[in-house]
């Protein structure tokens, strides 16, 4: 017996949740099935919309024909992107025509961000303006983003207050002094210093960030001193490390930490540290496992629950059954080796891209894994890449193509099925990494796919 719903969303990340909520709000009965935990925990927790229009002219290859390792590359030979962009919306027209933002229109992004604001509530900031914010990244750069966790707010790079960046000697992701130097090289409008402190040494080497967060959540004693106090004490001596342009000493007004300041009680941890230090405290989003990403994931799943969406994780979709009229009738969900049909009137495919494993590949080609949909790609895998690691990589744009309603297209540009929509990383055409558009693409495609799927299902 099939498990039925109006709309079945396949996938568990930002796009899947967005489309599930969007469909539910249209009145559809929605079910979500996800194979694995989402890639949100690998993401920084920043909600990017569009930060750059990357250069798309072909970069000069190292040699004509097959690649060579022989010659050195000169990064100056590759063109700079346009950006960072203060306004993510006005640049959309300058993206390639096949970009999901071009296909769906700027309003899709705008409405997706609005839905996000609603779901994230007071945990996120940035919704007061259309403009991008610039936030420090743990690579020591600043990046344009549309929404940011409240925990990161005090770190805004357009804020001119003197800033201290804290690093921990046993956490190897960045060196705080190099971080500060790199911010200066970016021309930030504030004085900044970096300091490596010895807080984390109380834990054994290679302790995970989640462990630090827990110690701060519970204010565990470290060598007899409560963790928050111990951390403030370690930072205290550096509050005057910043030197201004005139050579004078600035007392810092804000202090940035790697994103490990508590999990469940982050607000409390930041408030206490801020109080003890006499300076605002902010988190610098980090790589995986990312606490801001995990916190966002928790929040979104709570929202999903609140919207009445039923969801289950752990089981992949392994195939589809089509009806006589050519639409998809059921998908087969592999539940511990037994294939169970899940029926719906409309389906949203939001299984992710190459990282989320919505796309699969071998030496012969790239495939969409769950529905077997068409993925546009050069036939020869040596045309999937360019020589500059940060160049216009064709593989970065892999994915299915959609129309203005989010329906997945076949090779002739017509919908493959009337009732199959796609959202998020599985949709191709964007170079989300270089554009800083990953979350925005998920939100824009998610809201369109969810709404249209609900319309399709309830008509």
């Amino acid at each position: 017996m099939a498990i039925d719903s109006d709309v079945l969303v396949v996938g568990g990340g930002l796009a899947a949740i967005t489309s599930a909520v969007a469909a539910a709000r249209e009145g559809a009965d929605v079910r979500l099935v996800a194979h694995k935990s989402s890639t949100l925990r690998q993401a920084s927790g920043l909600i990017d919309a569009l930060g750059y229009v990357p250069a798309t002219e072909p970069a000069k290859p190292l040699r004509e024909g097959p690649p060579t390792a022989g010659r050195k590359l000169d990064r100056d030979e590759w063109p700079d992107p346009e950006g960072p962009l203060a306004d993510p919306f006005e640049a959309i027209d300058r993206l390639p025509e096949t970009h999901p933002y071009r296909v769906l229109g700027a309003d899709a992004l705008r409405e997706g961000l609005e839905l996000f604001d609603d779901l994230a509530g007071d945990a996120y900031r940035g919704g007061h303006t259309d403009r991008n914010a610039l936030l420090p990244t743990y690579g020591g750069s600043v990046k344009p983003t549309a929404r940011y966790p409240a925990a990161a707010e005090a770190g805004l790079a357009s804020d001119d207050r003197p800033t201290l960046i804290i690093g921990f000697r046993s956490i190897t992701e960045y060196d705080a002094r190099a971080f500060a130097g790199r911010l200066e090289a970016a021309g930030v409008p504030f004085d900044v210093a970096g300091a490596e402190v010895e807080f984390a040494e109380a834990f054994r080497a290679d302790t995970k960030v989640t462990r630090f967060a827990k110690a701060l959540d519970h204010d565990e004693a470290i060598d007899g001193v409560p963790a928050r106090e111990a951390l403030a004490k370690a930072v205290g001596p550096h509050l005057h490390d910043v030197v201004d342009e005139a050579g004078g000493v600035d007392r810092v007004e804000r202090v940035g930490f790697p994103a490990l300041l508590g999990d469940d009680r982050g607000d409390e941890v930041r408030a206490e540290l801020s109080d003890r230090l006499g300076a605002d405290v902010f988190e610098i989003p980090m790589g995986p496992p990312s606490l801001p990403g995990l916190r966002l994931e928790d929040r979104l799943y709570d929202a999903l629950d609140a919207e009445g969406v039923r969801f289950e994780t752990g089981n992949p979709v392994v195939g589809i059954e089509t009806a006589a009229n050519g639409s998809v009738e059921t998908v087969a969900v592999d539940r511990k080796g037994r294939e169970t049909p899940y029926g719906a009137d409309a389906f949203v495919l939001a299984t992710g891209g190459l990282v989320g494993k919505g796309l699969d590949s071998d030496r012969d080609g790239v495939r969409e894994r769950a529905f077997g949909l068409r993925v546009e790609q050069p036939a020869d895998r040596y045309e999937w890449f360019v020589d500059d690691a940060f160049g216009d990589q064709p593989y970065a744009r892999f994915g299915v193509r959609i129309d203005g309603d989010g329906r997945v297209l076949d090779a002739d540009g017509v919908p493959e099925y009337d009732n199959v929509f796609a959202a998020g990383g599985v949709v191709g055409g964007a170079d989300a990494a270089r554009e800083k558009s990953a979350s925005g693409v998920s939100l824009a495609t998610g809201i369109v796919a969810g709404r249209q799927a609900a319309t399709e299902a309830t008509q």
Partner: protein, 582 residues
């Protein structure tokens, strides 16, 4: 800073490093100059086979005998660079029985210890071998880490008074009165270790003798001196797998052919190779078919390779040479023997000797023979002890075992550090607290990275070669920035940034040849981490134009009240983008 020395050795591969070590130990004042990192040319681009001689036992018995002899020497003097994996020559049903017998007899004739085992026994030793492998010859092939080996040779040379200069390409060979009297080198970032952004300098090094140990590049150096050295560079691909499908060197037992060897190496297996003559050792095509051939052909021996993850592929160029007039057409038929060309005898240009051909396994023997020659030429009387004197890191087997115990009981990471560092382990590891892991894939700790930075400056590729950091599954995605962060102890920020970019791009080059399946997913994850999360590609620090910070969101509290601000984003704005209204 011009200098007069006894000998300049040009080329920091295994031969050059071996020669400078040998000369220094014989009491000569020697300098080694290398245009890139140590092992930059061919040595760093090989599969790491420590030959038993089996591969040459039919076609070239002189080479085979030298191999087994030196194989034994290296196990002795370079224990920390060698893994005694053993090797198999396996026979599939379609491979010739006659050749199998020839191989067996050849090995015996060359004193290579062999054992014939049946297919079942072969699969007991290597469970992933194909079901239809009929039988195999077991012999003492091994794996050698060419980076560690060269570094150890160079370190020993330095301990004996030699000077080692990397990133110092020779720009001219000095010829005066019909004699070679030295070289001119360009220190790309000044003499000593390489540091990004330091200005270059030029130096004349005058020497009583110049040794051309530049391998595939020997013709280029010869040209600077006005002599012809007709090296025939021949490229070969090596494909790196993500794990050790086999723990023994697996050779295909057939006369000759591409894609006939799998070498287990550290955490990986390396598949090899092809053999194609190229015009320029620096610029030759790296072709898709070569990678496909490795996977297709070698999965006949180990079927699991067919769908296994490859991390990258790289190519090396063999410095093949044959005396003028030999006229061999197929590069696979050119001898693997080495040749010593005395340009005094050969070209009437005394003061310079070139060594070409040969192979890594016999590097020490080649070094001994050229050092004998140089000593003769200089009238210097000293004996060679390189076959007996252990290399730094391999001084004491007992000490190694002790270290393994000391560091090995608690942590597999420390055990791997111990293996890489050999007898230097306690010096390096004791010096760093806390000592977190920098490279998770290869288990490389801060202590090792810092130790390598101490030797290599800000050149993170040299750090990589010394430590293996960034050589695992993620190919630097999760550790390039961490390795670079360790530079910040000694170097200013722009150096850290340049060094990081250079390593990241270098790691990318090899991954281009492995972009499918899980490695393509890995590449995308790396791309997202470095471009999305860190924004390294769009970092204003690297862009030409300046950023108008005032045009961006400075927080809800600092927003001026305005029609387009504060609240519902449904109203369109175009004001924030370009003019920066505040």
């Amino acid at each position: 800073m011009d200098q007069q020395v006894d000998v300049v050795v040009v080329g920091g591969g295994s031969t050059g490093c071996g020669v400078v070590r040998d000369l220094a130990r014989r009491g000569l004042d020697a300098v080694l100059v290398e245009k890139g990192n140590l092992t930059h040319g061919t040595t760093g681009r090989m599969h790491g086979l420590l030959h038993s001689g089996g591969r040459y036992a039919v076609s070239d018995q002189k080479s085979a005998r030298e191999c087994i002899e030196e194989n034994r020497v290296l196990r002795d003097i370079a224990g920390h660079c060698v893994e005694e994996t053993g090797g198999l020559f396996v026979k599939r049903p379609e491979d010739s029985e006659e050749y199998f017998q020839e191989k067996l007899e050849g090995c015996r004739a060359c004193d290579i210890p062999v054992e014939v085992i049946d297919g079942e026994e072969a699969r007991r030793r290597e469970p992933y071998l194909a079901r239809d492998v009929e039988k195999a010859i077991a012999l003492p092939d091994g794996a050698v880490d060419p980076f560690r080996l060269c570094v150890a040779n160079a370190a020993d040379a330095r301990e004996h008074g030699a000077r080692i200069e990397t990133h110092a390409p020779v720009t001219d060979v000095l010829v005066e009165g019909g004699e070679v009297v030295g070289v001119e080198v360009e220190h790309e970032t000044g003499p000593g270790e390489r540091v990004h952004r330091e200005p270059g300098t030029t130096e004349e090094i005058r020497a009583r003798h110049v040794v051309n140990a530049t391998g595939a590049w020997a013709g280029n150096l010869g040209e600077m001196a006005g002599v012809d050295v007709e090296v025939r560079p021949s490229k070969g691909v090596m494909t790196v797998m993500n794990t050790r499908q086999v723990d023994t060197v697996i050779n295909r037992c057939r006369p000759k052919g591409d894609a006939d060897i799998i070498v287990p190496h550290e955490t990986a297996c390396i598949l090899g190779t092809t053999d194609e003559e190229v015009d320029d050792p620096e610029d030759y095509p790296e072709e898709e078919w070569e990678v496909d051939l490795m996977i297709e052909t070698l999965s006949e021996l180990v079927p699991a390779l067919k769908d296994a993850r490859t991390l990258r592929s790289f190519w090396g160029v063999r410095p093949l040479y044959e005396p003028p007039g030999t006229g061999t057409e197929d590069p696979t038929d050119i001898t693997r023997d080495y040749f010593l060309l005395d340009h005094g005898d050969r070209d009437d240009l005394p003061g310079m000797t070139t060594i070409v051909g040969g192979k890594l396994t016999t590097y020490r023997m080649m070094a001994e023979s050229i050092s004998d020659h140089v000593c003769d030429a200089l009238g210097h009387d000293a004996t060679c002890d390189t076959a007996d004197a252990p290399l730094p890191g391999s001084e004491s087997e007992a000490r190694m075992a002790e270290l393994m115990d000391e560091f090995g009981l608690r942590s597999p990471v420390a055990r791997r550090s111990g293996q890489r560092l050999g007898s230097r382990a306690d010096d390096v590891l004791d010096d760093c607290d806390p000592n977190p892991v920098i490279c998770q894939c290869e288990g490389v700790t801060r202590a090792e990275v810092r130790d390598a930075i101490g030797e290599a400056g800000s050149d993170l590729n040299a750090v990589r070669l010394r430590t293996r950091a960034s050589m695992g599954n993620c190919q630097g995605g999760f550790c390039t920035h961490r390795i670079a962060a360790e530079l910040a102890q000694e170097y200013p920020e722009p150096v850290v940034r340049d060094a990081e970019d250079e390593l990241y791009q270098e790691r990318w080059k090899g991954q281009r040849h492995a972009l499918w399946g899980r490695q393509l997913s890995q590449a995308m994850l790396n791309h997202l981490l470095h471009a999305t999360t860190m924004n390294r590609d769009g970092d204003p620090a690297n862009l030409d134009s300046e950023v108008d910070f005032g045009a961006f969101d400075a927080g809800a509290d600092s927003e001026p009240a305005g029609p387009n601000e504060g609240g519902n984003a449904g109203t369109a704005t175009a004001d924030g983008g370009t003019d920066g209204d505040r």
